[in-house]
Amino acid sequence: MESLESIRERILQAVPGAQVDIIHNPSPSGQHSLLVDAEHALAVARFLRDDPQLRFDYCSNVTGVDWLDTEVEEKVRTRVLADGREKEVEETQKRVRPGYLEVVYHLYSVALRHGPLVLRMRTGNRADQVHLPSLTPVWRSCEFQEREVYDLFGVIFDGHPDLRRILMWDEFQDHPMRKDYVEPDDYEYEPTPHDAVAEKARRWISGGVAPEPPATG
């Protein structure tokens, strides 16, 4: 398989206007991935499938990642005037990087026997901008797995032929794989509690009433 850098160059030539970034994976496996913007993702996917040198004809896996809002510390050097002299002061600034949901596709080429190519897409935030284009029109195998990502993470795939919950029931409102999900508290009886479970069991033993789970979007 050709290098990610050259794949990226060819995508940028084939799909004008697309934003493609390479996300490096620092671990020993070194599976670097391509981050594609949602607007051009479908065109990029078609290119990856139809290009004669790539021919990624098989999407083996679709999964989701939930990234919470994180506080990032940055060190900024500024020059200030103190006692008539100019001094360089280092300040730490904190800013909150807004969270987002990410969908990861693993692509293989059965015809050319190479892969995987890891393709990522990110939503705008975790609340209302959770729409991403569905890649089911390109790879049929994405259908059920995108439904699973919709069910468990709450990513809405535009263009999906049948976007329904697949594991949980239709009336269910939460997205259980999100990091801020609170599961229903039904730990009245726990013979061997430990860690977080011990806390729940202790609350039940001392006669406490379980709090209502907060509604998550």
Binding site: L167, Q173, D174, P176, Y181, P184, D186, E190, I205
Partner: protein, 204 residues
């Protein structure tokens, strides 16, 4: 009747029994299980019913595909919250007298999935269970043992008097409420009339 007198009479070719014993003997040796499995425990249940372990020796080989013809429900496997209403509905559709064996760690308590969000923490939250079998999965011998335990309990049932079983009491329910799918959990999450969590005494 005195056991010594009975064996003495038997030696002379006279068999004495009571209607109750005859009735229970017939019922306990012809339990018809409902043929359904929920997870890997079902594989052990199938193995128990086939030639090697041969559940037919105990009169329980006729797995029925309809709840109307079955009188034993073997809850074999993980009961997810999505599946629980269907299991309760199948139990309600069975004719009295009916019995339940909860087979495996998941069916009795949620098992390894107890800390999860989508598995029911024991089918005894919604329907009365007669015999619990621990194990992950229990071996076919354990299922046979559970069946023998159930047969023993049926044989000990008295058909009259204050200790008569549930199906002979008109005031006892034969059907239990089917939980509904709620926005966060099953509604209600348990049937408080039949599920009483054991009280654990330990230093807080």
């Amino acid at each position: 009747m005195d056991a010594g007198l009975r064996s003495e009479l038997q030696r002379h070719g006279i068999f004495v029994t009571t209607l109750e014993e005859l009735y229970n003997w017939g019922r306990s040796n012809s339990l018809w299980p409902l043929g359904f499995g929920l997870a890997c425990c079902a594989i052990e249940m199938i193995a128990a019913s086939m030639a090697r372990y041969d559940l037919a020796r105990f009169g329980a080989e006729v797995f029925r595909p309809s709840p109307r013809q079955a009188d034993l429900m073997i809850v074999a496997g993980t009961v997810t919250k999505k599946m629980a209403p269907q299991v309760v509905r199948l139990y309600n559709q069975m004719a009295e007298p009916k019995y339940v064996i909860a087979m495996g760690a998941c069916a009795i308590s949620g098992g390894p999935f107890k800390q999860g969000y989508n598995v029911l923490k024991g089918i005894d939250r919604y329907i009365p269970v007669d015999v619990h079998i621990p194990g992950c999965p229990p071996r076919p011998e354990a299922l046979i043992h559970a069946l023998m335990t159930l047969q023993q309990r049926i044989a000990e049932e008295s058909l009259t008097g204050p200790n008569r079983p549930r199906h002979l009491r008109p005031d006892q329910p034969g059907e239990y409420p089917v939980p509904e799918y709620g926005p966060h959990d099953l509604v209600p999450p348990k049937n408080p009339e039949i599920w009483h969590p054991p009280v654990i005494q330990r230093p807080v």
